[in-house]
Amino acid sequence: MLRIDLHPTHKQGDFRLRVGKPLPFGATIVPGGVNFSIYSHAATSCELVLFHKHEPNPYAVIPFLNEFRIGNVYTMVVFDLDYEDIEYGFRLDGPFNPREGHRFDKTRIIMDPYAKAIGGRDVWGAAPNWEDQYQHRARIIFDDFDWENDHPLETSMEDMVIYETHVRGFTKHPSSGVKHPGTFAGIREKISYLKELGINCIELMPVHEFDEFENSRVSPATGKLLMNYWGYSNVGFFAPKAGFAATGKFGMQVDELKTLVKEMHRNGIEVILDVVFNHTAEGNENGPYISYRGIDNKTYYLLTPDGYYFNFSGCGNTLNCNNPIVRNMILDCLRYWAADYHIDGFRFDLATILGRDQNGAPMNSPPLLETLAFDPVLGKVKLIAEAWDAGGLYQVGSFPAWGRWAEWNGKFRDDVRKFLKGEPGALGGMAQRLQGSPDLYSWEGRGACASINFITAHDGFTLYDLVSYNWKHNEANGENNNDGGNDNYSWNCGCEGDTNDPGIRKLRVKQMKNAAAMLLVSQGTPMILAGDEIGNTQWGNNNAYCQDNEISWIDWSLFDKNRELFNFFKHMVALRLAHPVFRNRTHFQNRDYMGSGYADISWHGTKAWYVDWSMESRMLAFMLCGSHAKGGSCRDNTVYVAMNMHWEMRGFELPKLPHGLVWHVAVNTDAEPPHDIWPAGEEKRLGNQEEFLVGPRSVVVLIAREIVGKRSRKEKH
């Protein structure tokens, strides 16, 4: 049907115009033209600035007439634009009075905060024209995409195995063997690898447009260029990073990322985005004008009473998340990614900032977090908080959740690391972590899946480095090794860094297997750092945020070298997914509510039914009753896990099974491959059903199976 209001009413120079629609914000293709809409509370006037793609100077400046302002929104339709060839910006006039919070500068060209695509850094690392007055250039996109029958997968939290990676680092290394290294298209080529590993969710480190040249500098230590490689510094929240797309040079990054998501879904893999709403790339008062500062500084940023920027993010400024305008922008943004990109979930960087009020104080019921928890469009997406910030607010276990929010569980990481390296007094913490941290998450019925369990993540040591370095080695970052965390709870197994000592190398492989086993038998949602499954190293660098080189890139040649480790990870993931006893949504009740004769979880040590919880004890075993799998809603095998983190072998007395069931070995990290892990259904029947000798620093998983013809399948081979 034709509309009667889609004809121009005004003319300025060659341009035909009419008043636009205030919502949605941004640039929207409408019949005959483009609807531009931008909010500013304190601006006194606004101009639309149009460029031909890549041109340094604008070809048109069109002022918004007074009748094109609705409330605090400047909006107009410009007809007859070749929107594929356009980059647009705004110039806003208004007060410059930093003490009052205003920093308007009508000479600057400002990017649309709702830009759906952003030019200026089209190809990763290509030197920009620093003379260009408009560095990050808003573009107009076709928002149509043929998703066919694609739909977000809505995998239950308890059934997920997350795999965290960096878009560029995943395939940039020459060994990756992909056609377009370091891109969304490159990840697509690795889908069969991800499927073999068995993970069912990929979590991408920031993919929103950022400037890899922000704070770029030459490392005094190595002479190499340091870049904003991780990208935790948004230029725009609605645009995918063009430099992550092989087609970024053609402006087709939107289609390339959507195609990746669609292909992932087709293969049963969810896509979670790491989103950074705590600050922007504009830095503090000395930073550049990109967008927000020039539109309405006071709206977008938390400011001190003197008009300086609060720095709870550690990155110069703090987004004013609980201002209603910013809150709506964040909501619009997440809805857009969920609806238009079919994104399955979001992990919020430094999420406690989202719960600070406009003065920076933590709130009891932060409206933004509540809004996200109850939003209808976001009703099924995963919401995961990094529950701390650089301002010292640590909310692991107490993040406002409304039954929706999960958390990166930093205590899981620390407690498992302590236990893994054999620290004294680590049993109590470990027992909590294995159960999905009920000490942190049993309140308000948050359940085990409020806990995202991880031992390693992008921030910190890789798994290989965790067992190969006692200390961080961040010299290449050019900050005299002062950056990066010092509480790593790592142990080098006897030699700092790479070594040819076969004993140390063997122990490291075993420790990596132990870590994988502990992660994947724990209740909660496990997250694996990409590359850990093949022993990827950053040579002890635990803060590789600026290293766009071999330090950060996954070395795929390790796949052949460490096939044993990959195989272990793969079967460990399969073991978890084959057994619902590992995947309870709710916490254990420590009792038998199914009448099976066994509690849902029972604790053991070198003696069955008894644990030595003393400081010097490093042995812990537990049994998960199969009748209580998923809260008793399904039946599974009973499973027994023994962990000996002592440096000597220990005999573990096994709990007796009901008549007709016998223990089978599924995992024994002390054994040589292929006997370190047995594929599902092929577990080896145990000769001695009374006791298991668990090797030094080893993990054992036993599965109770029925006696089939007195011999298990494997024994027949």
Partner: protein, 109 residues
């Protein structure tokens, strides 16, 4: 953009000469949509087409969909490796039938 249309034995062959982008896509759509008929085979020769933009890919996809909805076919020939690569990375290739020659198109009928 020059658009050459030739009819041969119930097959419509269209050669696109020039870039298929935001500028030319509306014209291509306008000229080619009327050629869409039930069960017809439309062959687009892109050998003289150096670049297909996002808008261009959308016009091609629209044509392909309109044709398949009427049990027709859209076949692309002469697609250079660069354009093919872009189609691959953006997923559009899954909707298109690509061939080297007209004869090959007719053979796979």
């Amino acid at each position: 953009m020059e658009i050459k249309v030739v009819n041969r034995d119930g097959v419509t062959l269209v050669a696109l000469l020039g870039n298929l982008d935001g500028n030319t896509a509306p014209e291509v759509q306008e000229k080619l949509e009327p050629l869409v008929e039930a069960k017809c085979c439309l062959i687009l020769d892109l050998i003289k087409c150096g670049y297909v933009s996002s808008a261009g890919l959308r016009v091609l996809l629209m044509l392909a969909k309109h044709l398949t909805a009427q049990e027709g076919r859209l076949a692309l020939i002469g697609v250079c490796p660069e354009i093919k690569d872009v189609m691959e990375m953006t997923g559009f290739i899954n909707f298109f039938e690509l061939h080297d020659t007209i004869e090959e198109v007719l053979k796979t009928k």
